[in-house]
């Protein structure tokens, strides 16, 4: 077992999977010789050859569209979109094609493919290198949307995503790449898609979150512990499908729920979680469900004070949780 960064965990998983299954190919912009703009695929082309780790033209619709064809004709493509912000030129292929090919063909075709994309802010990426885009895709039946929050989960979820028979979007938080470290087993293992993970047990309130915000919520929980507030942290790990029973279980247990995501508030995943709890666990609640999320502005601004004002931070989570605890 080694201590790996979130980024290293993803790279090692890709390496292990490429070795494990010869049908896997990786491609995208700069993923070959350069090893990706974040170095996630560094060294993979050298190790596995230009046929399996491919520098593609700068064209997202073609990257995803060809991945669909390649998947149908027997490969396991793992295309990379360089930044989640640039996934929109491919949204037609993802939503209208990949997501519904199984459905529209009455189960006779399937698209086993994983689209990897770095997302999220706090890295001075401004409007077009900071976005959280998961809610757009969480809305779409036929897709699975995975957002790992630790190096350990990043590995097991990526391996599962690649084994999955359906299209999976796998979003990697850029700020997590090098800041998050953790123990990752050397051997291959799978974490089921759609299963949340209780990252911390608590009594007084539950924070439900995913991605980078998991580590932020854990920091906030530690601080609140000092004040005698016991916080439970549920890491969703997958935003489609949602682990409904884990969500309801923690809500029923503590009776107070704070939902946290960096993606903006309106129409975000938090709204769905809140609706599920009010439908199925209303009478267990001791306080209104609260949400802490990115503000409803088009995207994250550049200049540090503006960026900071946008970002959800451990301090903002702590303060909001304290407010909920006091209710």
């Amino acid at each position: 077992m080694a201590v790996l960064s979130y980024l290293e965990a993803i790279r090692e998983t890709l390496r292990q999977e490429l070795a494990h299954d010869s049908r896997i190919i990786i491609y995208g912009e700069d993923v070959g010789v350069r090893g990706g703009v974040f170095r996630v695929t560094e060294g993979l082309q050298k190790e596995f050859g230009e046929d399996r780790v491919i520098d593609s033209p700068l064209a997202e619709a073609a990257i995803v569209g060809t991945a669909i064809g390649a998947a149908i004709n027997g490969l396991r493509p793992v295309p990379e979109i360089q930044f989640a912000d640039f996934i929109f030129p491919a949204i037609n292929q993802i939503v209208q094609e990949a997501a519904r090919i199984r459905y529209r063909s009455n189960g006779t075709f399937g698209v086993p493919m994983v689209i990897r994309a770095p997302f999220g802010g706090g890295v001075h990426g401004a409007l077009y290198h900071s976005q959280s885009v998961e809610a757009f895709f969480a809305h779409v039946p036929g897709l699975k949307v995975v957002v790992p929050g630790t190096p350990y989960d990043a590995k097991g979820l990526l391996a599962s995503a690649i084994e999955d028979e359906d299209p999976v979007l796998y979003f990697e938080h850029k700020a997590a790449y090098r800041s998050l470290k953790g123990e990752v087993p050397d051997d291959r293992y799978l974490i089921p898609i759609g299963q949340a993970d209780l990252k911390r047990q608590g009594k007084h309130l539950s924070i439900i979150t995913y991605g980078l915000m998991v580590s932020y919520a854990l920091k906030a929980a530690e601080e609140l512990e000092k004040d005698g507030v016991s916080v439970e942290v549920l890491d969703l790990r997958t935003v489609r499908p949602l682990d409904v029973s884990a969500i309801l279980q923690t809500a029923k247990k503590t009776g107070k729920v704070l939902i946290v995501h960096e993606d903006n508030l309106t129409g975000g995943v938090g709204g769905e979680i809140s609706a599920l709890i009010s439908e199925h666990a209303l009478f267990y609640l001791d306080a209104p469900i609260m949400r802490l999320a990115g503000p409803d502005v088009p995207a994250m601004p550049y200049s540090p004070p503006l960026e900071h004002a946008f970002m959800v931070t451990p301090e903002k989570i702590r303060d909001k949780a304290r407010e909920l605890a006091k209710f």
Partner: protein, 325 residues
Amino acid sequence: MLDKGLTPKVMLDMYYHMALARAVDDRMWILNRQGRAPVVYTSNGHEAAQVGSAFALNRGEDWICPYYRDLALVLAYGMTAREVMLHLLGRAEDPNSGGRQMPAHWGHAERHILTSGSVVATQDAHAAGLALASKVLKDGRVSVAYFGEGSTSQGEFHEALNFAAVHKLPVIFFNENNGYAISVPSRKQMAVQDVAARASGYGMPGIIVDGNDPIKVYEVVKEAADRARRGEGPTLVEAKTYRFVPHSSDDDDRAYRSREEVAEAKKRDPLVMFEAYLRDQKILNDKKLKEMQQQIKDVVNDATDYAEKAALPDPSTLADYVYSS
């Protein structure tokens, strides 16, 4: 000299599929006008382009990525008239989609007919991707994307051709240029005369062929497929043709083209011209033609009866196949 694959028997089979497609098409329009089929998309006029290209492929092994215009193509690729009618009428047994998709949204996994949606030009990238897998897996397959000239204005058309050319993929981009995208004439679609002219921008050959001549289409596609299999990359083929009837059963083409224009185009009806050619070559005579026409009539009647009696999908299956499990 004719390609040696084109024996009299094969040419008769080509003619049969062209005539079958026309007859199935005619029947679909009748069913529509009788209120028995909600919507019809036609291949009427495109039969030579579609059948000629299908016969040049390793049918059932090579992948075709059709669009809604391609009734004659899928029939030539092994789909049966019954399967077409089951699809038209949204029956549970429809192998294209189990009644989920509107008519002419072809797809047949076993026959290597890729499932198709409604958004034009998406299949161009799929064909390139199928070919990418063929290149990696060395399975010897060629993939063919079929599309109208209007759809070549889409960005995804450009992206797919560029991607395929850069990676020298075994794929053919087969354009059926009928001069119109619903009502919009091709001069309002593009500032070049020919779709094929675009090929040079991607670094691949662009070949124009008379889309009303199945033999010429066959030869061009055969050569493009051979080229692809030799590892020399993609080809853009432009088959010039004409759609003799409205875009769909909901369209009225009198709004955008004159009856004189249509009548003029019909002088080059691929079915009539190919029949004349086969007679001239002594491959077809009155007796054979009559037999074939009877056979087609029987097939179309059987397909219609079969599909009309077939069960509709069970509403309880609505949520099936969203995911693999």
